[in-house]
Symmetry: C2
Subunit: 411 residues, 2 copies
């Protein structure tokens, strides 16, 4: 009957909801298991909030929502970020913006209060309009956007709150002072929890990202060359599997610009920690990243040559196979050497030798290319026809030469 | 004397400060002049803030900073974004998060108040810790991050404020209701100003970005090919100038992923406007962008071939110059045709013909390549030597073929 059908429909709905929730739960669990620091971050925020609440719960100063506790809680919720750099950036911006906006608002209020009842609202609202418009516009300026975006928001917020609320300056001053102290307590608790319990440094993250990207690039160069010159007899399915896991790593390198930029911005705010000094050259990471992407573009094109329909015949490929594979391996070695010396922030002695080896391999390849017609003619009678067949191979070889030149810029 | 020196130092300091300020001012003016909507955005924020202030200034309800006015002002400052989509996203998130967190907090408070004096703070702080940790962790889940990042922050904030402040539930309910109304008024004023006065639609921005990128790509393909086959006699300086302005446009395409993603995210929140329906397929823009970047990687490699040290000799270049230039022009035409039909959201009838023309050019080029040895042999006696010279040319030609294949995926 309809009741049974309705019941079945409801049951299926519940079951579907259940699968969705469990799928979501699994995804969340995987994120936490892959990087436990993310789960710890959640606990840290909970801890900081609880600390602030307890602090204000136990104080006689506490007097309902409108009281000072609110500002401490708000501060913790808003400025606690995943990385130390992010928290310092927001905390610093919040403190400076609140203080400066408060002072300016008090000054304007004082002027307004001296200028008569009629002019007072005009001055208050006019200054609010002008300052808000100017501050909002300033967020479009790139340097302000990168360093003080959050501060500008807080500046507008504080200024409008103080300006609109202001009737008597003497009261306001006390209020402003109390609020500043509360915000300072919030920032202090927040930074203490952030730095003392399993801190996540933006600088370190940036460093690791760069190292990982270099290794991925090395894998990708080697993988592409191997794929290209591997025996066609080998199982195609197996080849596809290997290529997808190894030689596709360059895609991460292509898309890492945004996260690199934001982490370099945050890392600037961090105090010295571990091997990262106070004025660690974070700007260099952006250049390194650009060089690596430059290299990855070329690997991308090489990879598409590997998967192209038109291929050189096997016997032609074999002529250059050895020297090309050697060059690919050398490129990979240079990148790995650079990444390991970069990971430990030491200047590698062997790096120069490895680069020299790579350049030798490049010269060998160029020499072999020059002699290609001769060796082709030896092998077959129809020399020029098979030289045309060798053309795709030449493209691959010259891309490799270009990649090795770009690898040198990375180093 | 030292006084004069101190005076000179001070004067130079003031002068330097003056130049810095004027440089900053010029930069700011240029940003505003390039895109007046940015300046207007600043004025709009000022207007919305002033409206809210006036609204609360004139009402008897107003009672100092702790009062309701604060929440309206805070709402306007925080949710007013450059694009309509951004404002709707933040407004919606704020409203839903405030309401849900308020309801949950009232429920927990009620349970806590029934469970005795000793258990009450434990329940309050415990629930705060658990909810804050869970909510913070949920921000690492990609879908939550993309759609509800701001909402989660507001949820934590509201929950902690209500949970910590709560002594008596009946008072709290009235407070929560008042606050919701205030926030609703703030959101309403903000959205009204944002939509009614010169609105900036994220969907439109995204659309324009895609169209501009296609045109830049077309310019870049044409520019590269022209640069490559232009007479070496032509003034090198002039060539460099032209190439930097025209064929470098692909760099914008390479770096546009982040802004595309964020705008597509915001555009989903926008109501129907102009030619953009309610369920406009914004997901397609991401695919289009990926295809264009795929194309741009190849253009990047081609561009580096143009600037390479090893070049084919002029007389060899001339053999393929015509057909390559034609293919380049055809690629550009396809992209331009696609971009203009895309700009007006119509299906172009001529597009298929243009693509067919491009494919004809590809076949011609491949045919010419196959006959290259013969035509080279005709021209010079040392056939095979100059065939090796032609190798860089072949790389360029095969890159062009690859680019045209990728252009077809863009269309």
């Amino acid at each position: 009957g309809p009741a049974a059908r309705a019941w079945a429909w409801l049951a299926s709905c519940v079951a579907m909801f259940g699968t969705k929730v469990s799928g979501f739960g699994k995804k969340a669990w995987k994120i936490g298991a892959d990087d436990p620091r993310k789960a710890v971050h959640g606990l840290k925020v909970g801890l900081a909030l609880t600390l602030v609440s307890v602090f204000y719960y136990t104080r006689p100063l506490y007097d309902g929502v409108g009281g000072a506790a609110m500002w401490a809680i708000m501060t913790v919720v808003v400025i606690f970020e995943y990385t130390v750099g992010g928290s310092v950036y927001k905390g610093f911006n919040r403190a400076i913006a609140t203080a400066s906006a408060g002072v300016i608002a008090l000054g304007v209020n004082w002027v307004a209060s001296k200028s008569g009842d009629k002019l007072e609202p005009v001055i208050t609202c006019g200054s609010l309009f002008i300052l808000a418009a100017a501050a909002t516009f300033s967020r479009f300026i790139p340097t302000v956007k990168a360093r003080f975006d959050y501060g500008v928001t807080i500046f507008i917020l504080t200024y409008s709150l103080v300006a609109v609320s202001g009737y008597r300056v003497d009261e306001l001053a006390a209020l402003a002072q109390q609020r500043l102290v509360t915000i300072a307590i919030g920032i202090f608790i927040c930074l203490a929890v952030c730095v003392l319990i399993w801190p996540v440094w933006a600088g370190q993250e940036l460093h690791l990202l760069a190292v990982r990207n270099m290794e991925k690039l090395a894998d990708a160069v080697e993988g592409c060359v191997e794929d290209y010159f591997s025996d066609a007899d080998a199982d195609a399915a197996k080849r596809a599997r290997v290529s997808s896991s190894k030689s596709e790593g360059y895609k991460c390198v292509l898309n890492s610009k945004a996260s690199e930029d934001s982490q370099a911005n945050l890392a600037r705010w961090e105090p010295a920690h571990g091997k990262f000094g106070f004025r660690h050259p974070y700007g260099q990471y952006a250049k390194l990243g650009a060089a690596m992407r430059h290299c990855a573009y070329c690997v991308e094109t090489l990879n598409s040559c590997v998967g192209a329909d038109v291929q050189a015949p096997e016997h032609v490929k074999r002529l250059l196979g050895d020297v090309c594979t050697r060059l690919g391996v050398q490129c990979g070695r240079v990148l790995r050497e650079a990444s390991s010396s970069f990971a430990e922030m030491t200047v590698s002695r062997t790096l120069d030798f490895v680069v020299a080896d790579m350049n030798t391999a490049v010269h060998e390849l160029q020499g072999d290319l020059r002699e290609l017609p001769v060796s082709l003619a030896k092998e077959s009678a129809a020399g020029s026809a098979s030289l045309i067949d060798a053309m795709p191979l030449f493209t691959v070889a010259s891309l490799l030469v270009e990649i090795s030149a770009r690898v040198e810029t990375v180093v």
